[in-house]
């Protein structure tokens, strides 16, 4: 029984770390612009697909991964320059719809540039599971968990300890005021798209050995990552990690102990319940209502 619960825990943490990484990608752009970037899943897809194709072409894995991150950053910056920047001044809802359009566009391009099949990457440090008290853990799970922690720590340091991070937060709080005190808000937004794309691609690379990848892998991941970010509190790096892990654990324990057919329903019911009581999510900022 203990081994069984431990197995569910491991499974939940692994899947949860995947969601957490995607949720973290949402954080930066949201903080800079109040926009939920629904093309975040496509950055995850780009990270995985570019790595797979570069690796298959004989590029060593670390170099292939770097290429993938660079490619995603390029796409992120272009997305900002060509789609978001021209609509500057539009409402957040308009911008969100633009990101949905961009996500469909990127998926369409990926189908043509890559292909429509599923792909895999070898696990970074072997595929032999590690046995702990009867539960089997894949080494790749540690990579994903470690990656989520690393990105979390990086984001936290960035927002709390750097001037640029503060500038991003200031832009989010009040764009005009930030501009008046000398923050280059346009640069801040471009930066947040670039870094967000890098985080997404990084996530895509780490999770591909577990989840596999294809041109449309981003859709569901973005949805789950978004749910995780909402649960944890949109805009909070800590919230993204906790929300992601919680969502993963909910799914795996629901599948293992209640019903595998209704595990998603169970997870989303819990999220709804939490948001009823805490509309800002677990770690969300309280927004002040102005009258």
């Amino acid at each position: 029984m203990l081994a069984e619960l431990l197995q569910f825990l491991v499974s939940g943490l692994t899947v949860g770390a995947v969601y957490a990484l995607v949720a973290l990608g949402f954080t930066l752009i949201y903080n800079a612009s109040d926009v939920v970037n629904f093309a975040q899943g496509e950055f995850v897809m780009l990270g995985g697909m570019v790595t797979v194709f570069a690796f298959a072409a004989g590029v060593p894995l670390p170099l292939a991964a770097s290429l993938a991150i660079l490619a995603a950053v390029g796409v992120g910056l272009l997305l900002h320059r060509l789609a978001i920047e021209p609509a500057r001044g539009a409402s957040a809802v308009t911008l969100i719809i633009i990101t949905i359009g961009a996500s469909i566009f990127l998926r369409g391009i990926a189908q043509i540039v890559f292909d429509k099949r599923f792909h895999q990457l070898p696990a970074f440090s072997g595929a032999d599971p590690i046995l702990v008290a009867g539960a089997a853990i894949l080494p790749q799970s540690f990579w994903v968990l470690g990656g989520a922690l690393l990105v979390f720590a990086g984001l936290w340091l960035f927002f709390e300890r750097t001037l640029l991070g503060k500038a991003v937060l200031a832009t989010a709080a009040n764009r005009l005021a930030a501009k008046l005190v000398g923050v280059d808000t346009s640069f801040v937004l471009a930066l947040s798209f670039g870094v967000s794309a890098a985080i997404g691609a990084f996530a895509g690379i780490l999770i591909t050995p577990i989840t596999l990848t294809s041109f449309d892998v981003g859709t569901l991941l973005a949805l789950k990552g978004f749910a995780a970010a909402m649960l944890g509190g949109m805009g909070s790096p800590l919230g993204a990690v906790v929300g992601g892990l919680l969502l993963g654990l909910l799914e795996s324990f629901a599948a293992g102990t209640i019903s595998s057919a209704y595990k998603d329903a169970v997870a989303f019911l819990v999220i709804l319940g939490v948001l009823f009581v805490m509309p800002q999510g677990l770690f969300g900022r309280r927004s002040v209502e102005r009258v």
Binding site: E4, V10, P129, A136, D216, S252, G256, S260
Partner: protein, 388 residues
């Protein structure tokens, strides 16, 4: 005579001539229009893409060899993206605007069922490439299909499990259409096949970890074998989870994953020993010399792989069978009239295709039996034919 009146009379004449002569002219060199609505993109694209490629390739080859009854074929393909609504719209367009004489396509059971009424109403033969048994049961007069059904897959798997002296099965199924349909069919035929289903777990088609479900099955008392109903990447992740947990029970996959890509995705080490029912195309080279399908399978395989530089899949094979059954029926009927063509398709006997030997009848619009499925086992990263 003024220029205008010449023009007008000419036009009138042309119009009348076209009206009167349309059926006669159609017999001379006018292309025969064949429609196809396929899921070339979207979640079922790995089915629709090889189907699309196969149809285009073979229509070109048939035309290069002189066409059918002295007329070239014209293939009209629409991509429904896996969406049943769009499929139905395209089906209507094929019937009303493109005026096709027959339809080969319908990649998924969902799109096929959405399009079926359109072709039934228009009395145009419709050869579907989807697996679901509801397409041909009960028989609809103008609807046919080429792939094996999931019920046959269940029967083949259960027969193999019984042959190993096992009876108690744990099932794990995807919540997508394919997984649910096969799960239902397996539950139906389990009793008659002497199999008891003792565990019944499910997973979302894009889930990234199935170890909780597998852990539950492993801990179910008395389970002797695991059957995974699903296609896409789900079965690959199930197989990885099965290896991760070190489960020793025999694992059966469905015909939905019968491609070399499955082994690659699941990794050869994890997939070692996995068995599945598959169309003979998968093991063409391993068939005995006297197998009736051998020659046609190797021919299709080499043609496709030379043209597209990617491995064949059984799904493209279904499209090949559908097109060839239609072409043969057109030759026999020497007509493109819907009802006569339908009768000719229905009269197909002993047609050797990639899916098996097809013997259709008024009550069987698929014409395959269990012998069309081969039980294969994955050994050393490749499919091996095992005693059938």
């Amino acid at each position: 005579m003024s220029l205008i009146s010449v023009f007008r009379r000419g036009l009138l004449g042309l119009g009348t001539a076209a009206l009167i002569a349309a059926p006669a002219m159609a017999q001379q060199g006018q292309p025969i229009r064949i429609g196809a609505v396929l899921s070339v993109t979207g979640p079922a694209s790995f089915l629709g893409d090889p189907e699309d490629k196969t149809l285009r390739l073979y229509v070109n080859r048939i035309n290069a060899a002189g066409g059918v009854n002295g007329r070239p074929l014209q293939l009209i393909v629409y991509d429904d993206g896996g969406d049943a609504n769009r499929a139905r719209t395209f089906a209507t367009r094929l019937v009303e605007d493109d005026r096709v004489v027959a339809m080969v396509g319908g990649t998924t059971t969902g799109t096929t069922m959405a399009m079926r009424p359109v072709f039934e109403d228009a009395r145009i033969p419709f050869i579907s490439l989807a697996g679901g048994i509801e397409i041909i049961e009960p028989v609809a007069p103008f609807t046919f299909k080429t792939p094996h059904t999931d019920r046959m897959a269940c029967e083949k798997i259960f027969a193999d499990i019984r042959a190993r002296g096992l009876t108690r099965v744990g099932m794990i199924s995807g919540t997508d259409g394919f997984g649910q349909s096969m799960r239902g069919q397996c539950q139906r035929v389990a009793g008659p096949a002497g199999i008891t289903i003792v565990a019944d777990e499910q997973y979302g088609p894009r889930d990234s970890d199935m170890t909780p479900q597998l852990t539950r099955i492993r801990n179910t008392a008395g389970v002797e074998a695991i059957v995974n109903a699903g296609f896409g990447q789900g079965p690959a992740i199930v197989t990885r989870g099965y290896a991760q947990l070190g489960i020793r029970l025999p694992l059966y996959q469905s015909h939905g994953v019968a491609s070399a890509q499955f082994i690659e995705l699941a990794t050869p080490a994890a997939a070692e020993g996995v068995r599945l029912p598959a169309a003979a195309l998968l093991v063409a080279e391993q068939l005995p010399e006297n197998d009736p399908q051998r020659r046609i399978l190797i021919d299709y395989k080499t043609t496709f792989e030379r043209e597209f530089n990617q491995p064949v899949s059984t799904f493209g094979g279904h499209a090949y069978d559908g097109l060839m059954i239609l072409v043969e029926a057109m030759r026999r009927a020497n007509s493109t009239d819907g009802t006569r063509l339908r009768d000719a398709i229905r009269a197909t006997r002993g047609f050797v295709g990639t899916g098996g030997v097809v013997n259709m009848s008024a009550t069987d619009h698929m014409g395959l039996d269990l012998s069309a499925f081969k039980m294969v086992e994955i050994r050393g990263g490749a499919f091996r034919l095992i005693g059938n």
